[in-house]
């Protein structure tokens, strides 16, 4: 048999008799499983998820569910096809033994695999003080149980809701509160809401939008402490500027933490920014060498992107989960030269205060911004982000139909600023600094260090923090 024929036979055999385990039963896990079957994989397929529920859709949890339009348990993801998979729901994966090719579960079971897809995603960062976090009425928002709890709390007509954090989740929840005519205070440590994702220029527009809708917005302050009553229900928050806010519901919208702890000791390149992998979803080991049997997709994946100078991007976006999982699934059951890259142009959307916000590209990669279409005053506009004379991202407020145009420009590395539109020009079309916060200071204790002097022994080593 020729080598090519042998390899083809190998692929056929794996598709028929292989054993694939997917850890993570949300959007990326489900779409990855469906894509594997679509690719003709008929072998054994196991899906492990720590939540007890079948895969559900998260975007409605901060919108329609909170408004009471849709019950939290009516958010199951539609199924594209029959899966014929073994579901292990309600049990978390707690370890990975790559030598033995086994996933360890919380109940002690070891699940063997030939190929593994890691799609464990992220979880909500909890309020850091455990005693305060345990107060009744202190809620975070990531899961459908969180959403049900917050929806009930809002339906009980609280006197005031305090939202800590002005990112997308915090801003969307503040918007829902105003829709429900519930008083809401939002605190943001930065100078404006959405500043991390979209920069200070857009953040200032978002801030004004919040104030116009009656949000008590406090920027440049943080929450020092939460206080409860005798019954253990949260009643007020002390802020860093010395003021207090009386509130009986507190949403801690503090961003997310990637679920990588279970990979400790696995030798994979897993850290606070996710699991490093190549653009085909193949995981790197801690030395930066690509593995053949472990793949990553969704929020927890971190991969180099050609359009962004090969920087490693972690994209917590819906379409990244879907398309990343499809690419990983394809590569799991194929061999070179049939590998496919996941070259998605990142994009996301948000609905808040009656405005549809959409973005394409990587706004924080840019350092300048120019308004290109529409009117800032009417909060109906498009703006482009640039870096070194090329367009790298765009954002739209109620102008989503134009994103495709900007996406095309970004893909072509077109000049920045882009040519002016033929009509509906903004009053000012001069690029200005986009005002992104300075990158965070490097962590004091590195997660990965190099060891060994002999080139043959030189390896990277993971050192857990605090050691």
């Amino acid at each position: 048999m020729t080598l090519a024929a042998t390899l083809a036979e190998l692929v056929r055999d794996f598709k028929a008799n292989g054993r694939i385990v997917i850890v993570g039963a949300s959007l990326a896990g489900l779409r990855g499983a469906e894509a594997l079957r679509e690719e003709g994989f008929t072998g054994s397929l196991t899906i492990i998820g720590d939540e007890p529920y079948e895969p559900y859709d998260r975007p409605p949890l901060s919108k329609q569910v909170l408004k009471g339009w849709v019950p939290a348990d009516h958010t199951l993801l539609p199924r594209a096809r029959e899966l014929d998979a073994e579901w292990r729901l309600g049990v978390a994966a707690t370890g990975l033994d790559r030598a033995a090719r086994q996933v360890r579960l919380a109940d002690g079971e070891q699940v063997p695999y030939h190929r593994l897809l890691i799609a464990t995603g992220t979880r909500a960062r909890q309020w850091p003080n455990p005693a305060e976090a345990a107060l009744d009425g202190v809620i975070s928002l990531r899961t459908r149980d969180d959403a049900a709890r917050l929806q009930q709390a809002l339906a009980a007509r609280p006197s005031r809701v305090l939202v800590i954090g002005g990112g997308f989740i915090g801003s969307e929840v503040a918007s829902v509160c105003r829709d429900l005519d519930i008083p809401v205070t939002l605190t943001e440590r930065g100078p404006a809401p959405l500043v991390g994702a979209l920069g200070g220029v857009i953040g200032e527009i978002a801030a004004q939008m919040q104030r116009d809708h009656g949000v008590d917005l406090r920027c440049g302050v943080s929450v020092s402490a939460l206080e409860g009553d005798a019954a253990g229900h949260v009643r007020r928050a002390r802020l860093s500027d010395g003021t207090t806010v009386e509130a009986d519901v507190v949403l801690a919208a503090l961003g997310s933490i990637r679920n990588v702890e279970w990979l400790q000791g696995s030798g994979l390149a897993a850290g606070p920014w996710g699991v490093g992998c190549d653009a085909g979803g193949r995981a790197f080991d801690i030395n930066g060498v690509v593995t053949d049997s472990v793949y990553v997709a969704g929020d927890v994946a971190r991969m180099p992107h050609v359009l962004y100078e090969y920087q490693f991007l972690a994209m917590e976006h819906w379409d990244n989960a879907v398309f990343g999982a499809e690419v990983a699934a394809h590569n799991m059951v194929n061999l070179e030269p049939h590998y496919r890259p996941h070259l998605l142009l990142p994009g996301f959307w948000s609905g808040q205060f009656g405005v549809n916000i959409k973005s394409v590209g990587v706004p924080p990669f840019g350092d300048e911004i120019v308004f290109t279409q529409g009117s800032v005053k009417d909060r109906s506009f498009a703006a482009a982000y640039g870096r070194r004379g090329r367009i790298v991202a765009a954002v739209t407020f109620d102008h989503g139909k134009w994103l495709e145009y900007y996406a095309h420009l970004i893909e072509q590395s077109a000049p920045f600023p882009p040519p002016p539109p033929g009509w509906d020009r903004p009053d000012v079309m001069r690029p200005v600094p986009a005002e992104f916060p300075a990158p965070g200071v490097p962590t004091a204790i590195p997660d990965v260090v190099l060891t060994g002097h002999d080139p043959n022994e030189r390896r990277a080593e993971f050192r857990p923090r605090g050691h």
Binding site: T372, Q373, G374, S375, D378, S380, D398, K401, W402, E404, Y405, H408, P419, P420, P421, G422, W423, D424
Partner: protein
């Protein structure tokens, strides 16, 4: 006389039934300058790029006056007559377009005011379709256009807008007269077209007056339907002026049925030309949703659009479209572009990744698409299920004159009966 370009040939009435060979020729030059200075875009990628390019205007007022046809100084194309109306959402740009379309959307399928408007129509649609098919019992020969494709959309659009159905014979004649007079091809200068244009001008005027009268009537006495709602409640952005409202109401009345008539007629025609696809749909009725998308791709109801122009010089596909030049985007050709659709001349009811241009794309994406989809899914699905042994009598059938809103005048079909 210089040889005609593929585009000019595609526009000739003799080629109405099958413009596709000329489109294939046309696609060899994706952006092709015509002798009159119009740039005709025929490939999928370039059409999509221009649909999303904010340097392209759809505003008729920006169009240069079309060069008069040689030796026919009196022949003014009907487009000019239509321009006398205020611009509607399909012939204007943001921000007017965005404001007006948003106002109309709230009364059509907008999330705050009318989220169930379209889906709530399904029982009505089913009832009308059932009635039309029941009416064919005992017949051995039917005209799919007059007896099936036309009555359904016209009844629905009258109900949605609040236009009295008893006025249908009048506005039907006006619309047909206007449609028959529009010609953008080499035959525009003919004696016949000139006389049609003269007649059409009067029809457009009458249609406009009819709609203005209806608006005044609803202004005094609110009634059912979208027109009355728009007269009384524009939403946060205010109300449209009377002229703009009348123009958009005419657009909805016209576009709300003409395109759907052609789609239903073409769908039946196409399925009867492809017996294996017809049989597949009969066996698997759930395929009707992707089937209608494929039929939209295969025979697009709007073959091209003619009011766009370049506001700035636009470089595309190795050509520079100069500022001011009219741009025709040929959806019917983009939908058969082999660079985008594998084996594009094959009808595949399960075609994957079928992002066709049957409803266009971008901000002018078909306003009525959700309604059209539902109507055609029900109509074609029920036709396939209930009509016994349908056979085409004449193929190709006679076509209407209009090049943009391309569709058969009649589709005669012999049948063995109507199932329950």
């Amino acid at each position: 006389m210089p040889e005609e370009t593929p585009w000019q040939q595609a526009l000739r009435y003799a080629n109405r039934a099958d413009p596709y060979p000329f489109y294939a020729e046309l696609r060899k030059t994706p952006v092709a300058r015509q002798p009159d200075g119009t740039y005709v875009v025929s490939t999928y990628r370039e059409i999509v790029a221009l649909l999303h390019d904010p340097r392209v205007s759809s505003d008729v007022r920006r169009l240069p006056a079309r060069a008069p046809a040689p030796a026919e100084p009196g022949a003014e194309p009907i487009t000019e007559a239509v321009i006398e109306l205020e611009p509607n959402i399909i012939t204007c740009d943001p921000p007017e377009h965005d404001r007006d379309r948003r106002m109309m959307t709230r009364h059509f399928y907008g999330p705050t005011d009318a989220p169930h408007q379209i889906s709530d129509l399904e029982p009505d649609i089913r009832r009308i379709v059932a009635g039309l098919l029941d009416g064919m019992r005992g017949k051995t020969r039917i005209d799919v256009v007059d007896e099936f494709a036309y009555p359904l959309p016209v009844k629905l659009i009258c109900k949605i807008l609040g236009v009295p159905l008893e006025d249908e014979p009048r506005f039907h004649t006006w619309i047909e007269t206007a449609l028959d007079a529009l010609d953008l091809g080499p035959e525009a200068a003919s004696e016949e077209m000139r006389s049609r244009v003269a007649g059409a001008r009067g029809s457009v005027k009458e249609l406009e007056q009819f709609m203005a009268g209806l608006l005044r009537q609803y202004a005094e006495q609110p009634g059912p339907g979208m027109i009355s709602a728009m007269v009384h409640n524009g939403g946060p952005g205010g109300r449209m002026s009377e002229g703009v409202l009348a123009s958009n109401a005419v657009l909805l009345l016209f576009a709300g049925h003409e395109t759907t008539v052609n789609l239903i007629a073409h769908s039946v025609l196409t399925l009867l030309r492809h017996p294996e696809a017809l049989e597949k749909l009969r066996r698997r009725p759930d395929l009707i949703v992707p089937a209608v998308e494929e039929l939209l791709r295969f025979e697009s109801s709007v073959q091209f659009w003619h009011t766009r122009s370049a506001v700035e010089d636009i470089e595309i596909a190795g050509t520079t479209i100069p500022a001011g030049a009219p741009i025709f985007l040929v959806y019917g050709s983009g939908n058969r572009d082999p660079e985008r659709f594998t084996d594009p001349d094959r009808l595949d009811l399960e075609r994957p990744d079928n992002e066709h241009l049957g409803f266009s794309q971008g901000i002018h994406f078909c306003f009525g698409a959700p309604l059209a989809r539902l109507e055609v899914q029900v109509a074609v699905g029920e036709f396939v299920r209930r009509v016994e042994n349908p056979r085409l009598v004449v193929d190709p059938p006679p076509y209407r004159h209009n090049q943009i809103f391309r569709g058969p005048r009649h589709v005669l079909v012999d049948i063995d009966g109507i199932r329950d």
